[in-house]
């Protein structure tokens, strides 16, 4: 049994916990054992909270004995290291937060913990979530479980790799420009980016405040729906969390797509996309059409502008958000002899190259004389990108397209060319700029055996639609059941 406990989805494990066939302690111990055996090769975790996990598992088992039946009760979970966890080191993959132990939990963490989810540890990430390969972590790289010479994607690469390698059935990530969906695609798992405002950002260390969202990595769409339902909803501690009711996402999983209108955007099948990616996505769309969905072409004419808009808006917001790291309240301080020099030296030593690059870019875009030409212009084009989706969603229910133009690329391959790295996110950025929702799910493999992701995009607060389509797809395919061969 010990080996197979880590193969269980949340839904499967919850059923066994409910029956009393397994305990949370057994389930959590199996995951801790697998982390101990495998993570030296993968590098998904920055911190493993073994003692705390077993204590929480015991408490969960006790709650079950008292009659509680929550599906999350006793389920192990990993958190991206950008989410504040009370008393547990939270570094954002940066030297500048080394040793930081938040005095509070992020709202998403707190809601999952209250339902009985058991924290396994904190996962590796690109520093401050800036990157597409998890190579920008100040601490370690994370390897793709499908090919250890390749990246897991990023920035939530540790969470994606942990779920793919069966070192957690559930992990949280954050998505500012694709940082959940792209690593989910590259690691062959499900990754959901909720609509902006759906999940509270309280306790998520901010990168770009108008774009950031927290979402789950799971192996099935059913599990993603379950996790979203727990995290979603208004939070008085985040003024941008939407005061909207939370639907029963699991009830939206009907298993059929009869009558669902799927739009396929011409602009997402461009030159430079790998043939295996385009073919797998097209085959998935054809399959959904065969199940009763109606498929039509749609146009998102400003798609090619999402990248330049994003790389002005996100760094501008980041340059403001990261001003708080000055060596006064947290993190190491480099004494400079006087206040300004202490700031300069602390920040110069604490931030890595990609973070410095984006702070510089954002500072420039916001600076006197350039604000109108860069930042304001980008915000106006952002409106055009939103309007593209509004027009498309007047015609169709969901949009289907690739997640990333390529499958997992080699470690080191794109590190010297920031623009080439940024192009990994060309199909995911627009969703964040428009504030809408998207899910990535496995839809095939390329000729090297690397996973390909299918992206289903829905309108703002249209998570039920994308989950319904994704769930129906997983009922008739088995891509999501394949596991990397790791021994």
């Amino acid at each position: 049994m010990a080996g197979s406990l880590t193969d269980l989805t949340i839904t499967e494990a919850a059923a066994l916990l409910e029956q009393g066939t397994i305990t949370s302690v057994e389930l959590v111990q199996a995951h801790l054992d697998r982390i101990a055996a495998l993570d030296g090769r993968i590098g998904a975790y920055l911190t493993v909270t073994a003692g705390q996990a077993l204590d929480a598992a015991h408490a969960a088992d006790e709650r079950r004995r008292q009659g509680e039946t929550d599906p999350l009760l006793g389920i192990p979970i990993a958190y991206k290291d950008v989410l504040c966890t009370r008393g547990i080191e939270t570094t954002c993959g940066s030297r500048i937060l080394k040793g930081y132990r938040p005095p509070y939990d992020a709202t998403a963490v707190e809601r999952l913990a209250r339902r009985g989810a058991v924290i396994l540890g904190k996962t590796n990430m690109d520093e401050f979530a800036m990157g597409s390969s998890t190579e920008n972590s100040a601490y370690q790289i994370t390897r793709n479980p499908w090919d250890l010479e390749r990246v897991p994607g990023g920035s939530s690469g540790g969470s994606a790799a942990a779920v793919a390698a069966r070192m957690a059935p559930l992990a949280l990530g954050t998505d500012t420009g694709g940082s959940i969906r792209q690593p989910a695609a590259l690691c062959g798992v499900v990754g959901l980016k909720p609509s902006y405002g759906r999940v509270s950002r309280y306790g998520l260390v901010a990168f770009a405040s108008s774009l950031d969202q927290i979402g789950p990595f799971t192996r099935t769409v059913e599990d993603a729906a379950l996790a979203l339902g727990v995290m979603a909803g208004h939070d008085p501690l985040d003024s941008t969390s939407a005061p909207l009711p939370v639907p029963d996402y699991t009830a939206a999983l009907t298993g059929d797509v009869q009558g669902v209108k799927i739009g396929v955007p011409d602009e997402y099948f461009i030159e430079g996309i790998e043939p295996a990616v385009a073919e797998a996505v097209q085959a998935a769309v054809d399959l959904l059409a065969g199940m009763g969905a109606s498929v039509q072409r749609v146009s998102l004419p400003h798609t090619d502008l999402a990248l330049p808009v994003y790389y002005l808006v996100a760094p501008a917001e980041a340059s403001a958000n990261l001003a708080r790291f000055d060596g006064v309240r947290y993190g190491p301080r480099v004494e400079g002899g006087e206040m300004w020099e202490t700031y300069r030296q602390t920040r110069g030593a604490g931030f890595g190259p990609e973070v410095k690059r984006r702070i510089m870019l954002g500072t420039y875009a916001l600076s006197a004389g350039y604000y109108d030409a860069y930042y304001l212009k980008a915000q106006k084009v952002r409106t055009l990108i939103r309007q593209d989706f509004e027009r498309a969603f007047a015609e169709v229910d969901v949009i289907a397209c690739p997640v990333s133009p390529t499958t997992a690329f080699r470690i080191g391959e794109r590190m010297d060319d920031p623009l080439q790295m940024y192009l990994s996110d060309v199909f995911t950025l627009a969703v964040n700029l428009a504030g809408i929702c998207g899910v990535s799910l496995p839809c095939g493999f390329d000729e090297r055996g690397l996973p390909v992701g299918l992206q289903i995009i829905g309108p703002a607060f249209g998570e039920e639609r994308i989950l319904r389509v994704g769930y129906a797809y997983q009922q008739v395919t088995d891509w999501h059941t394949h596991a990397p061969a790791l021994g």
Partner: protein, 98 residues
């Protein structure tokens, strides 16, 4: 010919309070110039009469009841500081005495 001069790079670094090595300055000059060059394609887009999007939600000022509630424990917060004393963050001198 990079779009940014070395002086501009140094000016931006000073605005952002980032100590950069000469090697970093040279590299960022090249890389930021390439990114800005790529972003220049936005200038060709007609955005007359298009309002900017700062946030996708219709966010108004959100108010809450002004009632007292427990704060986080001071010691937990100060425990993260690289330098604190007497229940306060210790910082460099900000105002010199005349």
């Amino acid at each position: 010919m990079p779009a940014l001069t070395l002086e501009q790079v140094e000016h931006i670094a000073e605005l952002a309070k980032l100590a950069l090595t000469d090697e970093e300055k040279a590299r960022f000059r090249e890389q930021l110039s390439a990114i800005l060059d790529y972003a220049a394609r936005l200038q060709a887009v007609d955005t007359d009469d298009i309002p900017p999007t700062a946030n996708v939600l219709p966010v108004d000022t959100v108010l809450r009841e002004d009632v007292s509630r427990p704060a986080m424990p001071r010691d937990d917060i100060l425990a993260n500081s690289p330098a604190s004393e007497q229940g306060m963050f210790r910082v460099d001198v900000i105002l010199e005495e005349e």
